[in-house]
């Protein structure tokens, strides 16, 4: 009797959260998935997908390439920064780096887009600094406000997040293996790449997957930095809805975007199962 009461109580406690997920997540998700296959007359059709492919196949490819490149750069930078924090021998320099790298973490995407729009422009602060230092002639400066701007903004914003996870994982590693490799004469770069990095791959993957999903869904950055063709899928979705009221094609694009996320989510879940538990 007591057992049933406990279970009932637990169910009651979790009920509001479940209701919220059902109303605000599952229902709109199902709705948008279904309406991706709905024609204008309410019939079942693949029309929205053919239209999305005809109009936006370049943007879909562009989105995938930009996000893949940004994710790869984030991986390299976070391993480098985390590695220096773990292996760096000069305490002051390590402390400076530790203090420095976190700043963009507290800046929302829309503000990051705004910052980069003036910073990376043809006559923006970056080019001005390079010209002042004599690295560039004023006539050589180019605007970086195209795909490069989007990649730079994503890397700028997401690297601190992944580094935070990676550096934490590196700090909790067993120092003994590192010290013994050092005693056997391994250089720092070799220790980082062959001993530390393989051990933190699960954490790195989780960080990268979370950033991948976030970057896939950001609208403000591509909108502010590069809204011409080719641009990212989120811009096209907003355009279909705001300019044409065309939810069908927008939902088809959303469906494709789910597909891209699901492929990655599958890796994430498999990772969790391999570790013998729910993904963190």
């Amino acid at each position: 009797m007591q057992l049933t009461k406990d279970r009932l109580q637990a169910l009651l406690l979790i009920l509001p959260a479940i209701a919220m997920i059902a109303c605000l997540f599952l229902y709109p998700l199902g709705f948008s998935l279904i309406s991706a296959f709905e024609g204008e007359a309410g019939d079942w059709t693949l029309e929205n997908f053919t239209k999305a492919y005809e109009l936006y196949s370049r943007d879909i490819l562009f989105t995938v390439l930009i996000i893949a490149l940004a994710t790869a750069l984030i991986a390299v930078l976070s391993i480098a920064i985390g590695g220096y924090i773990t292996l760096g021998e000069h305490p002051t320099l390590v402390a400076i780096l530790r203090w420095l790298y976190r700043w963009p973490l507290f800046i929302p995407f829309v503000v990051a887009g705004q910052l980069m729009r003036t910073f990376l422009a043809k006559n923006g602060m970056m080019n001005n600094t390079f010209v002042s230092l004599g690295w560039l002639e004023p006539l050589q400066t180019t605007s970086l406000l195209d795909w490069r701007g989007i990649v730079i903004t994503f890397v700028w914003k997401q690297t601190p997040f992944v580094t935070l996870l990676v550096a934490g994982a590196m700090a909790s590693l067993d120092r003994a293996t590192i010290e013994s490799a050092r005693n056997l004469g391994a250089g720092r770069l070799r220790i980082l790449l062959e001993i530390i990095t393989p051990q933190i791959v699960p954490t790195l993957l989780v960080g990268l997957i979370l950033s991948y999903v976030v970057m896939l869904s950001v609208l403000s950055v591509p909108l502010m930095i590069n809204a011409q063709t080719p641009t990212m899928m989120t811009v096209d979705m907003a355009w279909r809805i705001n300019a044409y009221g065309d939810y069908g094609v927008a939902n088809a694009l959303g469906f494709i975007s789910y597909g891209l996320t699901c492929a990655i989510a599958w890796i994430y879940l498999r990772q969790g199962i391999q570790q013998g538990g729910a993904p963190r």
Partner: protein, 137 residues
Amino acid sequence: MSLRLHPLFMSWSQRLLTALLLGVLAFAIFGPIANMLLWAVTEVWYFPHKLPLEYGFSFWERVFRPQGNAMESLLNSILIALLTVLASLAVSIPAGYALGKGRLPWRSLFLLLFCCRRRFQPWRCTPISRGFSTASD
């Protein structure tokens, strides 16, 4: 490189290289932020000048003047953020307790449901939850 030196004996070239890299990183991180701060207090700034020609608060005046609705938007943003935090705490504390401590039937199913949501951003559920998508997206 194979010899491990005491920090004090780290070679000058090595120290210089590290400091240089840190400088580049600092420029990459603080450059954009400094750029925004400068623009916020700029009155006149045009090519080819590297720094603003006149400083002032006219942009601020424009934002906070009574007929601009920036104050209202700002208050709304703060209100929405606070209410969101409160509402999600109210929902997630009992759920977390039930998941962690209670004897919950179908525990793993519920856990999966909660995890699912993190993978799909609200923006993707276009028609209905558009209004609920977070501001930073």
